[in-house]
Amino acid sequence: MATTYFTEDHEWLRVEGGIATVGITDYAQEQLGDLVFVELPEAGKKLAKGDTAVVVESVKAASDVYAPVDGEITESNGTLSSDPSLVNSAATSAGWLWKMKLANESQLEGLMDEAAYQAHIG
């Protein structure tokens, strides 16, 4: 059974079997506006919590998306290379950004659940 967590920086993670699928929330994609490019990481890249994992580019600006926990990239969402607007239309499903193998599952305890995140964005 997958559990979904949220960060204060508007990322979501769906964790199943030690692997997290990560994306940005619907609120975040709305703030960013129409995305035109997503700079995706290579599989095998090791990230520490807070490192820039992905850069999403809208018509107007580039924004960093941070690694919400420590881990290693196992896969990027290659579909976004040809269709970055998937992040706008399906931020929490088909518009996921990357998958990572968790290095330290206890870090999940510091993240928010959906109710807490909704309260956070008010």
């Binding site: 506006g33 129409d34 035109v36 490019f37 700079e39 850069v55 580019e57 809208s58 018509v59 107007k60 600006a61 580039a62 290379s81 970055p84």
Partner: protein, 372 residues
């Protein structure tokens, strides 16, 4: 900048009602996007008509027997050669020939001109104009107007339906015209804009503006357009943003804007910065403003450094983003003069990755001005 220093648009309540998202620009709280979003707003302007609130820009009326002389001193311009209703892009230069602002000057009468200045420089511009005016028999009036831009291939049709006839007015001409065609001293309308499309700019009192906006928005061809799309539209059109593509450190020759300076004025004009500009023209500018077309889909943004094929510094990007109409990233910047030829390849360093960028002619989308 603190919240207290922010200036608000007179029509802010109308933007709030339209669902605008606001952001700070040049000391103003400006609508950045509306619910349609920057991509749709941009494309709607190119296909139909867009309504922009540009009241952050400042209108000045310069009038009196010394008006021509003042403008000829303040700008590399032959103000006396302007025909009635003719508009011209010009500049305020500093003594070093650097551009302190770009302006549109329109002749309203024998000794009366309208000057439109950029938001960020409006205060300095007014001070500068007033100081210069002391030497001439001239009056400088800062006008309190709402300023609207109506841009796009259907702009004239929407205005016509709202009772504003634009028919005989051509690109880069401006007049004092009100509803139903009668002249009104407090209304200024020019066929101009900053999107590359046919369009109009209207300066008018707030109450009239509220009526006009309400009428314009009844037309489904018309949509509010925010500052974000204004920026992508002007970049695709190859138009400079002061403070970004042109600054007090940039002269008109380096900026490839000498077309705005009449030939005889280059040789004999007594405008501020004339000697410095002549010196630049004599030796040739070291860098030139060019269009930049990055390969692939990744935008290359302002501030990014450019390198030649051997890895030597070649210039920098001053504006960059994605061109919704062009369908690819678009940018503008400066490169060393020998490289400033369309087709030359340079490389942009984006977060450590070298992205190939071709020098491109401007604009990226063809201008569709109504020149007659």
């Amino acid at each position: 900048m603190t919240g207290d220093d922010t200036t608000h648009l007179p029509l802010e309540d109308m933007h709030i009602a339209a669902g605008a998202r606001f952001g700070a620009f040049a000391g103003w709280s400006m609508p950045l996007t509306y619910p349609a979003g920057v991509m749709k707003e941009h494309l709607h302007t190119r296909e139909h008509a867009g309504l922009f609130d540009i009241s952050h820009m400042k209108l000045f009326e310069v009038s009196g027997p010394g008006a021509v002389s003042l403008l000829n001193r303040a700008c590399p311009l032959d103000a006396g050669a302007l025909e009635l209703s003719q508009s011209k892009l010009t500049f305020f230069l500093n003594e070093a020939g650097g551009i302190t602002d770009d302006l549109i000057v329109t002749r309203l009468g024998d000794t009366r001109f309208m000057v439109v200045a950029n938001a960020g420089n409006a205060v300095a511009d007014e001070k500068h104009l007033r100081a210069l005016a002391n030497d001439f028999d001239v009056k400088v009036d800062a006008l309190d107007r709402v300023f609207l831009a109506i841009q796009g291939p259907e702009a004239w049709a929407v205005l016509s339906r709202a009772g504003i006839e634009t028919g005989s007015l051509l690109f880069m001409h401006g007049i004092e015209l009100g509803k139903n065609g009668e002249p009104r001293k407090n209304w200024f309308m020019s066929r101009s804009g900053y999107t590359g499309e046919d369009g109009f700019e209207l300066g008018l009192p707030e109450a009239d503006a509220r009526d006009l906006v309400a009428k314009l928005l009844e037309d489904e061809r018309m949509l509010w357009i925010g500052l974000a799309a204004r920026d992508s539209l002007r970049l695709e059109a190859g138009l400079c943003l002061h403070g970004q593509d042109i600054t007090p450190e940039t002269d008109p020759a380096s900026a490839a804007l000498m077309w705005a300076v009449p030939k005889d004025i280059r040789a004999t004009g007594a405008f501020i910065g004339a000697d410095a500009l002549r010196a630049v023209l004599e030796r040739g500018p070291a860098q030139k403003r060019v269009g930049l077309k990055p390969e692939g889909r990744q935008p290359v943004r302002a501030g990014v450094a450019l390198f030649d094929a051997d890895g030597n510094p070649a210039g920098h990007v001053t504006s960059g983003g994605f061109g919704p109409s062009a369908g690819h990233p678009v940018a503008m910047g400066y490169v060393s003069t020998p490289l400033a030829k369309p087709g030359t390849r340079v490389f942009a360093d984006v977060r450590g990755t070298k992205i190939p960028v071709d020098i491109s002619s401007l604009p990226f989308t063809p201008h569709r001005y109504r020149k007659g």
